[in-house]
């Protein structure tokens, strides 16, 4: 075999040697291609598996942890929620519309493959600065691609997050999360079983699109890689809508008709066949000549590696083929028997009579090498930890500082984004995007799911351990602020090249932080996705890695939707208070970056016991009916949370608040500190003693700040001992709202 072929396919020499050992011979080209995609980082997690083992994956509600197409958690009443997040970063860098669209298509298939009807989508996005024309183009096209696919297929996009930073200029991040609901007893698995059971390809025909997409996603983005446009697939949401409905109808034929089902995403037919065989401990024989094609003259190699979208591989009970075909025909789709289950553990690929590949299924699916890469602490880490921020001056104009924060892309209203998504189709969206943590009703019940995805890339760069722990805590606070008990995490770990010791250190520390927080808050991680090689070079210069971004997707359960909570202030005269302790810590804050131009300093202290107490107190207060509003404190601290509570308050037109900062901390420190474990709440004066008592029992400090009222946000600084309070902010809510709502549209369109 030619000397460089495996290297061109992305395999290392020692990996090729391992293949020789497994097979006891040289692989042919088809086999080599199959190994190359299955042993890519994207499919095998060879660089991450060892570290991912740290994450807690079990819990009393977990029905399915990592290892299947999606995680599954019990929500009672015989129902289960199925959810997963996945990245489509590399394709989106090359072809933003289709890259994002097929990312949506792929994650939706993961959910209905499990037997669930998808009911919500979220997305976490990162782009370069909006001052850069190409970043604006990527931003707009990615949003259009998500909208184009999600709107057409009719699954509401209910939430997500967007942030911009220089490190994402050439390597945007596009992470998409999908959530579905199914009867707990009807969850489908992706394992083939039963000697002789037929294996069918259903859905779209196979073409030459997306060849080697998985390998493409496992390397840095270079000008040469950018030329691999054929590695980007093209999405057809209409086809997927038909496939979705047909599959859900197929499941209704009876529990025993579908033996196993897996979508054909990365590595197409190769991945789905070997993984289904390997999971079931069986072999499989596939005849590529029987696979319906949309192009003439495709070779077995091309059929096995195509990443054409909107296809599934299904193992069905022998004899049920006519029923299966009938369902797919009703929806205008093909269902074609292409092979059958065998008992020898071998994935055997035929092209008519000729055997073109013969490989142990386990070798492809489970025997990729596992690397523990070298990790070394980057030199900036300790420097930023030790950075002294005592000299950072107080702003001359607090209102101006606040406006800057409200206009920053990370904080500003994402209305420009979510108004392009159909967020109400399905008539289950209870809390719309932009109005608080997104809440969808569990169809046919009075239960709700609070959904969020969170990560602060700057935190994770400065201190990956603390950053990832904060991401878990923030997601949990978001969910709890809606009145939901956190159920589970799906994580999307976006990093640079893991072969670089500093990047691998970031990865390892982030997973450790995520694991510790998930354990402390007792929220299992039921699955996720790792995306490495988010690095790019321009014109041959050295590559730039993205800021490490471990996105935490979280699902929380609201047992009674009449108790759903939102962040906006509700009534004149309600008391405004903060739950939890505010520390003098402005390191890594949005305030420091936006107002003082410093992206650095120590990340806020991680206090998981305090997080846990704040979350439990919040849930108890909401369930007890004591609160009028609840808003978690994160980027921008108290000042931004107060502004949002005013902007989103009243009956749509906003409502004001008058607060006075307590204690002796300098006003900017108190207002903009991003200390964790805090909630901004409001409640009727008659509830005050109840709130205090409950907070006391949970050991969470309550600081009363003022009251709701008027149409201005008025903030007085601390008076000190006997001193007069100094008014630091006095702005009409309409003005806050104008800046907050208009900033992104203005940045993208002017």
């Amino acid at each position: 075999m030619g000397d460089c072929i495996w290297r061109e396919m992305g395999l290392a020499t020692e990996e090729y040697e391992r293949i020789l050992d497994i097979l006891g011979r040289e692989p042919n080209l088809v086999e080599l291609g199959m190994f190359a995609v299955m042993w890519s980082e994207h499919c095998s997690y060879k660089n991450s598996r060892a570290v991912l083992g740290l994450l807690p994956t079990t819990g009393s509600r977990v029905i399915q942890g990592p290892g299947e197409n999606a995680g599954v958690v019990d929500i009672g009443a015989g129902l289960a929620v199925v959810f997963k997040i996945e990245s489509h970063n590399h394709p989106s860098a090359v072809e933003p519309y289709q890259g994002a669209a097929t990312g949506v298509g792929g994650i939706i298939r993961d959910i209905f493959t499990m037997g669930a009807r998808p009911i919500a989508l979220l997305d976490a996005l990162r782009f370069g600065p909006v001052s850069d024309a190409r970043s604006r183009h990527l931003f707009a096209q990615v949003v259009a691609g998500i909208a184009g696919y999600g709107n057409s297929i009719g699954i509401p996009t209910v939430g997500g997050e967007v942030a911009t930073h220089e490190s994402f200029r050439e390597s945007p991040l596009v992470n998409v999360m999908c959530v579905g609901v199914a009867p707990a007893s009807a969850i489908k698995k992706a394992a083939a079983r039963g000697l002789g059971n037929p294996v069918m390809v259903v859905g779209a025909r196979t073409g030459r699109d997306g060849m080697h997409g998985a390998t493409f996603a496992s390397s840095e983005l270079s000008p040469e890689a950018m030329a691999k446009r054929s590695a980007v697939q093209v999405g057809d949401p209409f086809m997927e809508k038909l496939l979705l409905e047909a599959c859900l109808e197929l499941y209704e034929l009876g529990d025993d008709v579908v033996i196993g089902i897996q979508d054909m995403g990365a590595a197409g037919l190769t991945c789905s066949s070997c993984e289904m065989a390997s999971r079931g401990g069986v072999g499989m024989e596939i005849d590529v000549a029987k696979v319906p094609r949309r192009e003439k003259g495709m070779t077995p190699y091309e059929v096995m590696l195509s990443e054409s979208q909107e296809r599934m591989l299904v193992a069905v009970k022998a004899g049920s083929e006519p029923e299966v075909e009938r369902v797919f025909r009703k929806w205008g789709l093909e269902a074609t028997v292409v092979g059958h289950v065998t008992d020898d553990g071998i994935l055997r690929i035929r092209d008519g009579d000729a055997v073109v590949a013969e490989v142990p299924a386990k070798a492809l699916a489970d025997m990729a090498p596992c690397y523990t890469r070298d990790a070394s602490e980057p030199e900036y880490f300790r420097r930023e930890q030790a950075r002294d921020l005592a000299d950072v001056p107080e702003p001359d104009d607090y209102a101006c500082a606040l406006m800057k924060l409200l206009a920053s892309p990370r904080i500003a209203s994402k209305e420009w984004v979510y108004s392009q998504y159909d967020h109400q189709v399905g008539t289950n969206t209870v809390v719309l995007p932009g109005r608080g943590t997104s809440v969808v009703r569990v169809p046919g019940t009075n239960k709700g799911l609070a959904l969020t995805c969170d990560a602060n890339s700057l935190y994770c760069y400065l201190d990956p351990w603390a950053g990832a722990a904060h991401a878990v805590a923030e997601a949990a606070r978001n969910v709890a602020a809606a009145g939901a008990e956190p159920l589970g995490i799906t994580d999307c770990l976006n990093f640079g090249n893991p072969e670089k010791p500093e990047v691998f250190w970031q990865f390892k520390r982030a997973v450790e932080g995520m694991a510790e927080a998930a354990r402390a808050l007792e929220i299992p991680v039921t699955g996720g996705n790792v995306s490495f090689y988010n690095e790019s070079s321009k014109d041959g210069s050295s590559t730039v890695a993205v800021y490490p971004t471990p996105v935490v997707g979280m699902v929380g359960l609201i047992e009674d939707l009449s108790r759903v909570m939102t962040p906006g202030f509700k009534r004149e005269g309600d008391i405004v208070a903060v739950l939890g302790r505010t520390r003098d810590e402005i390191g890594a804050s949005e305030y420091l970056a936006e107002v003082h131009g410093i992206e650095g300093g120590p990340v806020p202290v991680v206090d998981l016991a305090a997080e846990r107490a704040a979350i439990q107190l919040t849930l108890a207060l909401i369930r007890g009916g004591l609160l009028s509003s609840c808003h978690d404190l994160s980027e921008g601290g108290l000042a931004v949370a107060l502004s949002e509570a005013c902007i989103l308050g009243g009956i749509g037109s906003g409502i004001g608040a008058r607060v006075r900062l307590p204690g002796t901390m300098r006003a900017d420190r108190y207002l903009f500190s991003e200390s964790g474990g805090r909630m901004l709440v409001s409640f009727h004066p008659s509830a005050a003693s109840g709130v205090q008592a409950m907070a006391g029992r949970h050991g969470v400090p309550v600081t009363v700040l003022g009251e709701v009222g008027g149409m201005r946000l008025v903030i007085d600084g601390a008076g000190g001992t006997g001193g007069r309070a100094r008014r630091v902010v006095d702005v009409p809510v309409s003005e806050l709202s104008r800046v907050y709502r208009g900033a992104i549209a203005w940045a993208l369109e002017s």
Binding site: I153, G154, M239, L242, V425
Partner: protein, 245 residues
């Protein structure tokens, strides 16, 4: 009361319409696009979505679906037909309603809350409303920019066929309150007889307080009231030429 919700391949608001109508206690059934007959139905709903993917022009292929022969026949016989969003686009494409849809004037999909003013309360779909009543409901479309030539618009206005217009908080149609650039701020129109209504806003999404509003119920409730014979519509549609409101 028998209501049919047509399911085209790519319809995605069919189940939403089904549940909204079911909440009125009506007997509601899905009608597969390959069926032809609408015998026995009192109201037929063409739901929103992306029929056939709408890769061409919204509704351009759905109009050729077998069921559309039945819909046209049903409408011509005076049956009540309600087209919502993609359903409205299909009604335009098949010629039951005049005019056409253009891409939104800001050429993007837009999902948002809008206000509609009831311009004609003498239709089967608005008979419980009072003229000038303002209803809140969501829109979600990329092709909702209603267009017709001037003569058609004059005729639509003169005959009271403009049923809903986009308005602001004060109930005034302004360019800012028009979410897609529609001519005359038109959000919904009927046939001259008033028995076929096409509208862009998703009334089925505004039928439950939990989901943010119940103004969509006015339209469904009106249709059921009309069908049960509880309303005298007066001269407008019987004469085919009535006053404007």
């Amino acid at each position: 009361m028998r209501v049919g919700v047509v399911v085209f391949p790519g319809s995605n608001c069919d189940a939403d319409c089904y549940r909204a109508i079911e909440s009125f206690g009506a007997d509601v059934k899905y009608i597969w696009y390959q069926d032809r007959s609408l015998d026995g139905y009192d109201l037929v709903v063409l739901p929103g979505g992306f029929s056939y993917g709408d890769y061409l022009r919204a509704g351009a292929i759905a109009r050729f679906a077998p069921i559309m022969d039945g819909v046209v026949e049903f409408a011509e016989a005076g049956g009540l037909v309600l087209g919502i969003c993609n359903g409205f686009q299909i009604l335009l494409e098949c010629g039951l309603l005049p005019g056409a849809m253009l891409p939104n004037v800001v050429p993007r999909f837009r999902c948002d809350g809008v206000r509609l003013r009831v311009e004609n309360a003498h239709t089967p779909f608005t008979c419980l409303c009072h003229p000038g009543q303002v209803l809140s409901m969501p829109i979600a479309h990329a092709w909702g920019n209603y267009y017709a030539d001037e003569a058609t618009l004059v005729e639509l206005e003169r005959r009271g066929q403009v049923v809903f217009r986009y308005v602001n908080e004060e109930g005034v149609p302004t360019p800012e309150a028009n979410p897609n650039g529609s001519c005359h701020s038109i959000a919904g129109i009927t046939t001259r007889r008033g028995n076929v209504l096409g509208m862009m806003p998703h009334l089925e999404r505004a039928c439950e307080a939990l989901l943010g509003g119940t103004d969509g119920r006015w339209v469904f409730a009106s249709a059921f009231e009309f069908l049960s014979g509880g309303v005298e519509l007066g001269r407008l549609h019987l004469a085919g030429d009535g006053p404007r409101h």
